[in-house]
């Protein structure tokens, strides 16, 4: 098991949190890169939503405020609006997701990234996000709620 991930096992399901990411409660993560940040969805969100069939991503060049609708992810059982975890200008989108939306399921922290942006105020906004250690208890509570429904 890699140190990069914290894993929570619930029955046969293993939920992961990447220790290099910061998390918003609406289940998008953000990770600092050399130039800007990259944004994606959490393992919890992809697992509970099901196989992704359609993705809509923001336009390159558009500006998003924190918690703005940044895109949509649709599965056979649900449609989820994805909220931007930070404010900034979108510089790149992962267009592979249009042909291979299943990347969101198979590799949500890697090849399934959604978009890149240049953040407006990283220092202030990132302070309000959760690191992996803080996110995991939140995820555990959601797992309990979600899977005890079944």
């Amino acid at each position: 098991m890699s140190d990069k991930f914290i894993e929570v096992v619930y029955d046969k399901f293993v939920f992961k949190a990447d220790s290099e990411c910061l998390y918003h409660k609406d289940e998008c993560w953000v990770r600092r890169e050399q130039k800007g940040v990259v944004v994606g969805i959490t393992d919890f969100l992809q697992k509970t939503s099901g196989d992704v069939a359609f993705v809509e991503l923001p336009e390159v060049g558009s500006h998003l405020s924190q918690k703005d609708a940044a895109g949509i992810m649709e599965t056979i059982k649900t449609t989820v609006t994805l909220l931007s975890p930070v404010s900034g200008d979108v510089t790149e989108i992962n267009s592979s997701l249009y042909n291979e939306p299943q990347l969101l399921n198979s590799d949500p922290f890697g090849a399934g990234w959604l978009f890149r942006m240049v953040p407006d105020d990283w220092e202030t906004e990132s302070a309000g996000l959760m690191n992996a250690e803080a996110y995991v208890p939140v995820m555990k509570q959601k797992i309990d709620q979600e899977l005890s429904k079944k």
């Binding site: 096992v9 029955d11 046969k12």
Partner: protein, 139 residues
């Protein structure tokens, strides 16, 4: 870092056999146990995913107790589970259950009728009984 959550559940592994109606019954009976009879106490293991290499399914079946539910005496689910993860605690064969209960085999593998529900219920009850035995430590 690994964190374990949840009660120790029982894994139900239906064969899903496509050729005969008993395979269809394994599916409906297993889901009935999962969704209604022993909700929150069981999980279903997807046999094709299990055999094709699904690590989560295989890991669960190695650690947790399992009940295989086969349509017929070929016992594909039981044999696959034994080979890939370990002996199931119980192995149920639908044709045996129906014979024991004096229930007529449904005529269609494609769609079960309301009358066929009796067969689903009988197998589901058998699975639920075995789940109880495992969780009460009687096995």
């Amino acid at each position: 870092m690994l964190i374990q959550l949840g009660l120790k559940k029982v894994g139900i592994i239906p064969c899903n056999g496509e050729e005969i109606c008993e395979g269809t019954i394994t599916r409906f009976a297993s889901r009935k146990v999962l969704d209604e009879l022993r909700s929150g106490r069981t999980v279903t293991i997807c046999l094709p995913l299990f055999t094709a290499g699904g690590t989560e399914e295989r890991n669960f079946a190695t650690v947790f107790p399992t009940i295989t539910v086969d349509g017929c005496d070929k016992r594909c689910s039981q044999k696959s589970t034994e080979r890939l993860s370990g002996k199931p605690v119980h192995s149920i064969v639908v044709s045996d259950v129906l014979k024991k209960c004096g229930i007529k085999t449904p005529s269609s593998r494609r769609r079960l009728t309301e009358k066929d529900q009796q067969a689903v219920d009988a197998v589901a009850e058998e699975i639920a009984k075995r789940v109880d035995e495992i969780q009460e430590g009687k096995v």
